[in-house]
């Protein structure tokens, strides 16, 4: 085999470098790696450490309390209510994001006039900052002067205004709708990229064999998309479950605690009531919640990667 690498780029054995050069190299790398590792892992470990104490920001000292904080958290209705709100929001919005994103990707993968601008427009909701999204949708949902009620009333579809953000069930529905609208483009673009990789000759062969559109989708498209869909779904579940801004800005966790998701609970407990250990404990439980199903998924279902 011909080695095409320039002479000076060929890997050299350790003994070829002088000892000082080697040590210097490691020193230069270790510094950066150490700092990155510290910034990444120290907060996680300190979080675990705090969850076994009763630390409050309003007190300079704290005591080790073992699992008492965990008992307090797990026995509070607030924790389970937030967990339920997070699960409902995450599972509903991710399912809809994936469905809608896939459908849109299939649509913009077809050949039609204006395909290029259409692909650009699809991305638009994703690039708008979340603060703007929350502010604008909050105004559109307003029961008195919001766009949705105005449209529905003018169209004669409703008589009384709908209290989108004022009723617990509708507030969750509104939150899910905004999440799906703002995040489906991410799914669509990734699915579109995956669709581009599917060999076209398979579709041609299937068409020649008389396969219908649905059969081509089930037996050709979907198997090729499976890996991408799994990755997107897992990532979107993690990101949505962890997501703080949209529920906080749109509903503040209300009305009542109907949309008080997990991250909002951590924020309120840690940064408004200053119960740092309590908030750390909830965070640790969140990590466990997110890691366990992912591990189980890969172990049990053994997807083909």
């Amino acid at each position: 085999m011909i080695n095409l690498m320039p002479r000076r780029w060929r890997p050299v054995g350790l003994q070829r470098l002088t000892q000082r050069e080697a040590i210097l190299g490691y020193v230069l790398i270790l510094g950066v790696l150490g700092w990155l590792g510290f910034l990444t892992f120290y907060p996680i470990f300190y979080n675990f450490f705090l969850s076994f104490r009763n630390k409050s920001l309003l007190s300079p000292t704290s005591d080790f309390v073992g699992l008492q904080t965990y008992v307090d958290v797990l026995s509070s209705t607030e924790f389970w209510a937030s967990l339920w709100a997070s699960l409902v929001w995450t599972l509903a919005s991710v399912s809809l994001q994936v469905l809608l994103g896939t459908a849109i990707a299939l649509l913009i993968n077809c050949e039609f006039r204006g395909k290029g601008p259409a692909r650009g427009l699809v991305l638009l909701p994703y690039v708008i900052p979340m603060v703007i999204i929350a502010g604008v949708w909050r105004w559109m949902f307003n029961d008195v002067y919001g766009f949705f009620n105005l449209f529905l009333q003018k169209a004669g579809l409703i008589k009384e205004p709908i209290i989108w953000l004022g009723s617990p069930s509708l507030a969750m529905f509104s939150l899910i709708a905004v999440t799906v609208w703002s995040r489906f483009p991410f799914v669509a673009i990734l699915i579109l990229a995956a669709l581009q990789m599917i060999p076209q000759d398979q579709y041609e062969a299937a068409t020649v064999d008389g396969a219908s559109w649905w059969q081509r989708f089930i037996y050709i498209t979907l198997p090729h998309l499976k890996t991408t869909l799994v990755v997107i779904t897992v990532l979107r579940i993690i990101w949505t479950f962890n997501h703080f801004e949209l529920p906080f800005l749109l509903t503040g966790g209300g009305p009542g605690t109907s949309t008080q998701t997990y991250p909002i609970l951590v924020y309120l407990r840690g940064f408004q009531v200053f119960q740092i250990s309590y908030a750390s404990c909830i965070s640790v439980l969140m990590i466990i919640l997110l890691v366990v199903p992912i591990i189980l998924y890969f172990k049990i279902l053994k997807p083909e990667f």
Binding site: L57, W164, G166, T251, G254, P255, G256, V273
Partner: protein, 451 residues
Amino acid sequence: MCIVRQSTKYMAIGMGLILVLILSVPLYAQVAKITIWSAETTAANRSGLDTLLEKFYNEHPNVKVEVTAIKWPDVMLKGLTAFTVGGEPDMMIPAVAAVADFWKLEAIDPLDEIIQQIGEEDFFESALEQVRYEGHYLGVPFWNEPSGIFYKKPYFQEKGLKIPKTWGEWVPVCEALTEDLDGDGTIDRYGFLLPGAREHYPGNVYNEMLWKNGSSVWTKEGDLNFSRLSVEALDFYVKLFREFSSPGSIGYGFAELYEMLARDEVASEMTMGHAMKRVIEEYPQLQDEMGVFPMPANERFTDRLWVGNAPTTVYMVFRSARHKEEIAKLILFLMRPENVAYWCNRRPIGQIPVTRSALDHPSYWENPQVKRHKDMVQTLAKIVEYGHSGYMYYGPHPYAGRAYGSLILTDMVQKVIVDGWSSKKTVEWGAKEILRMTGGTIKWVGKGDFE
């Protein structure tokens, strides 16, 4: 070898730079630098402060002030965190609810001397009360942002309504103002709008109703004061909400409050003076139709008519601050009547001075909006004179900051309106939550009412 020579060269350059920095320290040391964290982050207030600081530098060229903006909800969090790690600024401009917490942590200095130099008699007693704790003044108050019931005068005139002073007078007024204008069976104008979003303001409004009903969150001794009076106040809040407020207002924050008032969707609402800014900017033709009155009081407690929600904003100095003499000069400069008047008028009507000399200063009343809405400003100034702040009827309380931050009173309102709890059950729940928050260090004085 080549790498080693190069690295030696870079190390030499780095050492040289460090040496230059060290040698230049004496130059910096001649300028006294004061760091301030300010929760007054609006563009108008920030530019107002910058203008005042430029004038201050003319008188004190050896002082420099570095102002960092922090959001109101972050005052306690950032201040406490910074203090914990030794990174606190020299001064802070926080919500007054924070001062007792910082005092208990021995984080701040008393500012008794500065208050004496300005003159205690110049301050409204209500403002000083909000910073007076354990025999000291924990901050220097400079303005107040009072709340009141802003209303549309034409509707009152049209229906021959008088400004209500009691709850018994108030309900029929709200009823008369709640109208289905086009006869289609839906209400087109609500008589009285109450905020409901899961933010601080609904808690503030309920807190004010506690005061108007002879109650409060804490007793004078610092214990928990929830009682039947608290239940009555919550019942009244919910009655007003259900009968006269837009159902959607359970999700309204300040932005919606201001918009509804400006758009004429409501005849009156409980809000702050800043609502006028929206009216003036977006619907200037309506501004002369606006008026304000204090929240009415329960018939049994009419002496509390003018006791409104009037939180004061203060200058607070951390114990670790280095240039305390310069800080004192800065505060005294900022507290000059013309300077307080100037800064208040960066957001006119919404910000009222808490010193008589500033409130009476000619430059304050020369502001076009203050001049035009003189009656409104005078009413708000009277609320300032008798008002209290946040959850602190009797002055600073070490748990007021965290009670405020926890949204507990807002949650109580929402539990009744959204979850359908009874007011009694809700007040009991609120009491238990506050006792838990305070770690059992205070007593629940009104508990006998519930047993």
